[in-house]
């Protein structure tokens, strides 16, 4: 893949442009609707039939995972080519064909830690969106202290036997397979954890949705009772799961901070200053008449701009080969604050219109903002709490010591 000379990239661009022109359905070039997001897997209904065509075509090219090796169904593109693809998709406003924890989290970890057979077995179906994955990490007794997890995994000779409970399993009720942290040694903490994958249809698996304060149920409680897992579904070494878990959390934190947050509001919600103009009003110079609200909205917009510029800066630095390690924790912390501030400002700017729950008495966008605000409270909890991220920054980035 060492063919990134400018003229070759230009040729690639032309090829991509022509292909997208011929293969991206018209309705896939319109802004994403919340209920048309494709998560793939056996239960995917493809509300818009074009989204199925789009996923299949992109999947066959491997362009749902542009930089993954072609031998496992990925696109096999270089970084520069992947950027070209991204730019060309943005140019025609093409929707992402697939949202997937397999693409964002499990796949990258498997490519790094899985054996050849596992990669061949699982990666192609992630690329094609055929398997939907969920993540079995947190437990009722292991949240921020994730390594305290207790889900028991016993070696029964020809299989593993799993007993225990996971919680905050995103979309476990919709997923086909789970990647899961289990305890294989009780005498040690971090060194007694292993990384397993198994079918959610296995006997003894039960997922129950949890209703959140926002009314939605993106997470489940997941119970495992005498679940038998084939021996070849252990990823990495026995008791070597923590290394994979940490790496995967980095992928998770970067995908969350890159905009994968719950509670960002979804489509149809205006920026806070627009609601402030409509609901609070403006003075004769066009300023929002509540100066205090106006200043706080501006402060938020500046924070958001600074966040976006920092993402750009760290991308450019990475491209130039400079050290950008540990930005994930900083960005995860900042993204949570940014999104929560925005959601609070939206509700505040909407006034009593932001206090609806259901029914025709409130506009759709306003109700979404209200529920988004409630959902956003999870942003500083899920995928590592803000406090845990501040710990990571203090210790790993600033080099401050542990309390003795």
């Amino acid at each position: 893949m060492a063919f990134d000379a400018p003229e070759e990239l230009d040729a690639f661009r032309t090829e991509v442009r022509d292909w997208l022109e011929a293969n991206c359905p018209e309705s896939m070039r319109t802004p994403m609707k919340d209920d048309e997001i494709v998560w793939g897997g056996k239960r995917e209904k493809f509300k818009n039939p074009d989204s199925k065509v789009w996923l299949e075509r992109m999947g066959e090219k491997g362009w749902t995972a542009p930089e993954w090796p072609a031998e496992y169904g990925g696109g096999g593109l270089s970084k520069a080519q992947a950027r070209v693809l991204q730019q060309e998709m943005r140019r025609i406003k093409a929707r992402p064909p697939l949202f997937s924890f397999g693409l964002w989290m499990f796949g990258p970890a498997l490519l790094e830690f899985g054996n050849e057979e596992q990669k061949k077995r699982f990666i192609p179906d992630i690329v094609m969106g055929k398997t939907r994955w969920c993540q079995g990490y947190s437990e009722p007794g292991a949240g921020s202290d994730l390594a305290g997890l207790q889900t028991k995994c016993e070696d029964k000779g020809d299989h593993w036997l799993i007993n225990g409970q996971k919680v905050w399993t995103s979309y476990a009720d919709q997923a086909d397979w789970i990647f899961c942290l289990v305890r294989t040694d009780k005498t040690v903490k971090h060194e007694g954890i292993s990384f397993l994958v198994f079918d959610m249809e296995s006997e003894g698996v039960e997922a129950r949705p949890i209703k959140l304060i926002s009314g939605s149920s993106p997470f489940c409680e997941t119970f495992f009772t005498d679940v038998k897992v084939p021996k070849d579904q252990l990823v990495g070494k026995l008791n070597g799961g923590w290394t994979i878990a940490k790496r995967l959390l980095q992928f998770e934190r970067s995908s969350i901070s890159a905009g994968g947050f719950g509670g960002t509001g979804g489509s149809g919600i205006l920026p806070p200053q627009e609601y402030a103009k409509q609901h609070v009003g403006v003075d004769e110079t066009g300023r929002v008449s509540d100066g205090d609200l106006r200043a706080r909205i501006t402060d938020h917009l500046m924070y958001a701009k600074a966040f976006g510029l920092t993402v750009q800066r760290s991308t450019e630095q990475a491209k130039a080969g400079q050290e950008v390690g540990h930005t994930a924790s900083i960005m995860k912390y900042a993204a949570a604050k940014m999104n929560q501030d925005k959601c609070e400002l939206l509700v505040e700017a909407l006034g009593t219109d932001g206090l609806g729950w259901s029914g025709d008495g409130f506009a759709e966008d306003a109700k979404k903002a209200t529920r988004g605000w409630l959902r956003s409270k999870g942003n500083s909890i899920e995928g590592g709490t803000s406090e845990i991220n501040l710990n990571v920054i203090s210790k790993r980035v600033l080099g401050l010591r542990e309390h003795q």
Binding site: L301, T310, E316, A334, S394, V397, L398, L400
Partner: protein
């Protein structure tokens, strides 16, 4: 947007950082303060000139270096690290920008080489009230037969107490608050009717109030077209704001480094105080703010060089965030150091004092938030 320094810019950054560390350390500012120099430091000015720092924004045809704002920003950040008193902001950024953007051929030929060589110190005399309000110009420039007669007063002109040349912002038409009718004049420090009242300022950098009483200037001292000074002034002010934000970033980074160092050496209860979580989290938050603001400043600096159309927005973003940042970090620096932070012997107080000036000059956080909101249509 360019976030990666070119080789030249990186070299300049390294030189500027080393120079600030070796030649302009905080002890040097203390020494100036203690002997009552009020920030006036001809010896250091000569060394800065020798390094070519005054000519960074001056085109090569006028004996300058002909680099851009990204390069200038590295120097400003370096001098911010040691809160050094230099005339770079006024002379090398504001003065050089106004003349380059709006000066006549004769004005450029006369002054730009002198700026680049460090021979002339220039000061923009703009604000008339206690808060930055660049349109609120009441100083009058009345047309007479040979040129103009200036009458008015300017407050807190930095480097005003030792400048060779002033750029006076005056009104030739209209009323305070209007952009049209603002004109810029070059006035030498020995002009008849100009009086300079030196000020002892909290940051030990000094400044001056100016009084203009029937100061006569010729037509050739008008910069750009009459009544249209705002078109030159506003983009020049944005460069100044971005440069000052870069300086504040340097100060914030240095104060933060000093604090981090203390966290890793000071012990209480038999522990390094850096192991206490209440301090760790505050340090981590400061670091996050530093990183976010660093991106804004880098974007604003390169935005000028790339001639982007959102420079005004980026300038206000950079200046507002840098103002908030430097207060956050300098206040925490004093608090983290505890009792020693309250003493004059320790440097943290010096950073906190300079922070107030860095915010107030060319518009504080609230000025720039207001401007940013206006630019965004609300």
């Amino acid at each position: 947007m360019g976030f990666i320094l070119s080789e030249d810019e990186q070299m300049l950054r390294d030189t500027a950082m080393a120079f600030a560390r070796d030649e302009l350390p905080v002890t040097h500012l203390r020494e100036l303060r203690d002997r009552g120099a009020n920030g006036v430091d001809p010896a250091s000015r000569a060394k800065l000139a020798e390094l070519g720092f005054f000519g960074v924004l001056v085109p090569e045809e006028y004996d300058g270096v002909g680099l851009g704002m990204v390069a200038m920003g590295q120097i400003m950040e370096a001098q911010g690290r040691t809160i050094a008193a230099t005339p770079l902001l006024q002379t090398a950024v504001l003065g050089a920008s106004i003349l380059t953007l709006g000066g006549s051929e004769a004005q450029k030929a006369e002054w730009l080489p002198k700026i680049a060589s460090g021979e002339a110190t220039v000061a923009l005399a703009l604000d008339e009230g206690t808060h930055h309000a660049p349109l609120n110009i009441a100083t009058e420039a009345e047309r007479n037969g040979q040129g103009y007669t200036l009458n008015g007063a300017k407050r807190y002109v930095t480097d005003g107490h030792h400048a060779d040349l002033f750029i006076i912002v005056a009104r030739t038409f209209g009323e305070a608050g209007q952009a049209h009718g603002i004109s810029l004049f070059l006035v030498p420090n020995d002009a008849s009717g100009l009086s300079v009242q030196a000020l002892n300022t909290v940051d030990s950098h000094g400044a001056a109030h100016l009084h203009l009483e029937d100061v006569a200037v010729g037509e050739d001292q008008l910069i750009g077209a009459v009544d249209a000074g705002w078109e030159i002034l506003e983009p020049a002010l944005d460069r100044g704001r971005i440069a000052l934000a870069a300086e504040a970033l340097g100060s914030a980074q240095a104060a933060f480094d000093m604090t981090l160092d203390y966290l890793q050496t000071r012990k209480q209860f038999g522990q390094l105080i850096g192991s206490f979580q209440s301090l760790q989290h505050r340090a981590a938050k400061m670091f996050t703010e530093l990183e976010l603001t660093r991106s804004c400043i880098a974007a604003a600096l390169s935005g000028v060089d790339e001639n982007r159309n959102d420079v005004a927005e980026l300038a206000s973003l950079a200046k507002a965030r840098a103002s908030d940042l430097i207060h956050l970090v300098s206040n925490e620096t004093v608090q983290f150091h505890g009792g020693i932070g309250m003493t004059d012997a320790h440097d943290s107080g010096l950073y906190m004092k300079r922070a107030r000036v860095q915010e107030a000059l060319l518009g504080g956080a609230s000025f720039h938030r207001d401007r940013y909101a206006k630019l965004n249509g609300f």
